[in-house]
Amino acid sequence: MTDAEANRADRPSPQDDPELRTAQEERLKAVWKEPTGWRYFSAVNNDIVGKWYTLGAFFFFAFAGVLALLMRTQLMFPDNDFLSMELYNQAFTMHGTMMMFLFAVPVFEAVSIMLLPELLGNRDLPFPRLSAFGFWCFIIGGVFVTGSIFFGAAPTGGWFMYPPLSSEPQQMGIGADIWLLGLSFIEIASIAAAVELIVGVLKSRPPGMRLNLMPLYCWYVLVVAGMILFAFPPLIAGDLLLEMERAFDWPFFDPERGGDPILWQHLFWIFGHPEVYIVFLPSIAIVATIVPTFARVPMVGHSWVVLSAVGTAFISFGLWVHHMFTTGLPNISLAFFSAASEAVAIPTGVQIFAFIATLLVGRVTYSVPMLYATGALAIFVAGGLTGVMVAMVPFDFQAHDSYFVVAHLHYTLIGGVLFPLLGGIIYWYPFMTDKLLSDRLGKWAFWLMFGGFNIAFLPMHLTGALGMPRRVWTYAEGLGWDELNMISTLGAYFIGAGFAVFAWDVLRPKGKQPYAPRNVWNAGTMEFSQLVPAEHWGARCVPVITTRYPLWQQEGFLKDLDEGRFYLNDAEEGKRETMVTSVLDADPMQVLRVPGPSYKPMGAAVFVGLLFILGTFGLYAAAVICGAVGGVVILWWLWTGTSPIPEKEMKHAGRGVHLPLYRAGSDSVGWWAMFITMIGDLTAFFGLVFAFFFFWTIHPDFPPPGADIPEFWLACLGIVLAGLAWLTVWRGQARHHSGSVRAARFGLPAASLLAAGAVAAFIESARRGGLVPTSHAFDATCWIIVLWLGLHFAAGVVMLLYCLAGSFTGKMTPRYDADFANVLLYWHFMLVTACITFALLGLFPLLTGDGP
């Protein structure tokens, strides 16, 4: 008898009573029940939302795949007229756009939302309704962008939408607006999911899961969500600038009025290159989960894999200019990016060697998920090597915009993203649905796709080397490309057939098929501790973790789990609860009440979506009304669902541990979410600041000689008022926290007025200075910064008034003041934004000699 068993036997526990356990289970089931009938769509539980999300992402994948088959059919013969040029342009633009924005990133979020709570042995992520909101935004935006192709209105500018092609309404119709606004909306949803996942990994690990015991999948989720936070905002800033140019003629990208199209390329690729790793790392995370399971040993060099995830994430932000090697930037600038592009191969290689080492050390059992994982590595390594080739500037000059690049990027993305993901679907299918997929169909699908892939894309290296450019609608006979294109097209059909087999296997009815056994792959990580058929409660109780692979290494783990011998084994109050722990050592900190099913996230997504959709068609009044309604729905959702005052201070979480039900400030998950969101927000603002300095570098003088500049003293007034607003919030929060309700009731309206005054001063400063946004890039940049500040201050005022209403209705008191603490954090960021605004509008013209 081991220590653990002896221990359990010595100590009688109430959990020894089977009747008590059954009663607990009944209560938990009732609380976590999936809504039935129409109300099913109000579900917010991570397993349901995750499933919708995954299905949605794969739907867009299949759609984009069909577009690829259409393109390949067009390119099968020279001078083909299967697709018109216009439709071909729409097809390649939508193929790239959908694969990146509607499949690769969302599917990471989908799988992570689905897996994470179970992988962490917790009930749910801290913000289930935020996940649901992200899903609805994704599906609404996705259908909007995708649907445009049926009206012949899809964008045609390529997935990177370069101006000036995309910035002139005469060149490109509404498609570009659909792309800019539709995708901005989806990007916001992605950031929402990233916030959810970061807080999830940092704050909802099970007790005892210290950082050194955290599964590799969680490390990757943390790293990738962090990358999203820094990569997506510059694109949102770019989208804003480009849409302002298209809709209101603000000349950010028009060289005749001081703009520059290269600015877009910078903003796009500061997003676009990390994006490649944002989609690649989660799939590698799947490989890192599958490999130890089938090698039957823990990952060799666990921390080396952590190193490579973190290292790759950082270095991937130093690669963006390698997409711009042919734009005429100084060669020495290109060299820095070329060097970083070579350096990123080091961490990427480290993790692959760790996987191979694990396979060598272990006794590998043959399985279909493993087949996909090894196939993925083979393809990815080939793509990585051509990546090192195109990272060399002279080689890239030759290969740029040719089919060589098409071959390279598909080797990395299909090897690095798609195959691991499909392997992951097979691996976790029993986890998602309690049934197994067919081995035979899985192998058929694999060999069709693997073979088809190499038949399609290997020849493209040659086609590119022979000079065939990307994105051409058709080509003349006899250039040496005819046979190669024919072969590629045949290969593409095989990939299509393989995916059809796979999709059939996933979707075919499995009513009569028996349930898969529990932990069917004999995995070591906690998601497979789930019962078959699964319950919606996430985990029967929240376990204590002392090892990296609890199912392999913690004796009696499953029995203890099933008998509810760990934390939160009951739902006495009939509320959904999850455990919040500390960042480093996962010490229990709080029992967090999480909200249940609701239509509010869906409603908020619909109205916020209409803001973007109506804006696309220039219906600005209707768009603003819908946006306002969306804002009201969000406030209603927050008011009724977040930080409720609990009926008691502490709760017994099990095993003699009593935890608070309410926490405020940096101890609360809401504070972390605000902090993370605002980091992303500030990054977007830095995108605008980058635009300002970019213009400064390309112009001999910026502001240009004789330009109108913002009125200095009004800008000074603006920063003083903004500073006072911040000070009032800061001091008001402190005094309110120490018991003065009056501090809130006077401070909040006073801060609101000061903030409004600050915005008015900055606007007047630009207006009286004579800045006309359509006249020059300088004027437009100043105005966009003021606009940004104004909108953020307006949101900040809404938050202040929300707190004020809370104070008057008793929702917010000095003891229960999480909302106020979070709003204060927001205002810290607003102070930074205001200071930068003042520095650019007020001080910078002084430095360049244009001051008062």
């Binding site: 921390s303 190193l307 950082f314 020495i332 095993r655 608070p660």
Partner: protein
Amino acid sequence: MTKIDERARDAELSHTPPGEEPPKRLLEEGSVWIMIAAPCIWALHFLLSYWAAAVWCAKLADRYDPILPVRAGVAVLTLVALAVVAWLARYAVRRYQGRLLIQEDLTEHSEAERTRFLGHATLLLCALSAAAIIFDSMPILVFDSCY
């Protein structure tokens, strides 16, 4: 199998009162920031080198002018960055007991082990960052003008 029995586990868990973590200095033991410090140095070095060259080439130098100040500046910056990374590595070894393990096995369930894990990961990231910094300084050896 597990080294620590359930009782020890419980004792460990109740060791720190829930949520009562003492305030910590930024790089003090028990801070996760130490891990990303070295890559941040790389990022700073990278951006400053690129900006220095880009601004110099845009504002001050003609196409084939020698750019000695940029090269000298980046060289100095590289040495400073490497020195800071070396200091971080030393910190990881001293304060976090970081060791350069090949067959890493820092799986014990204790605060000390978690610290060692962070130290070890930091050390690895220092090595990677140093390599990347050296990579990114190579252009100044090759280019004596902007183009």
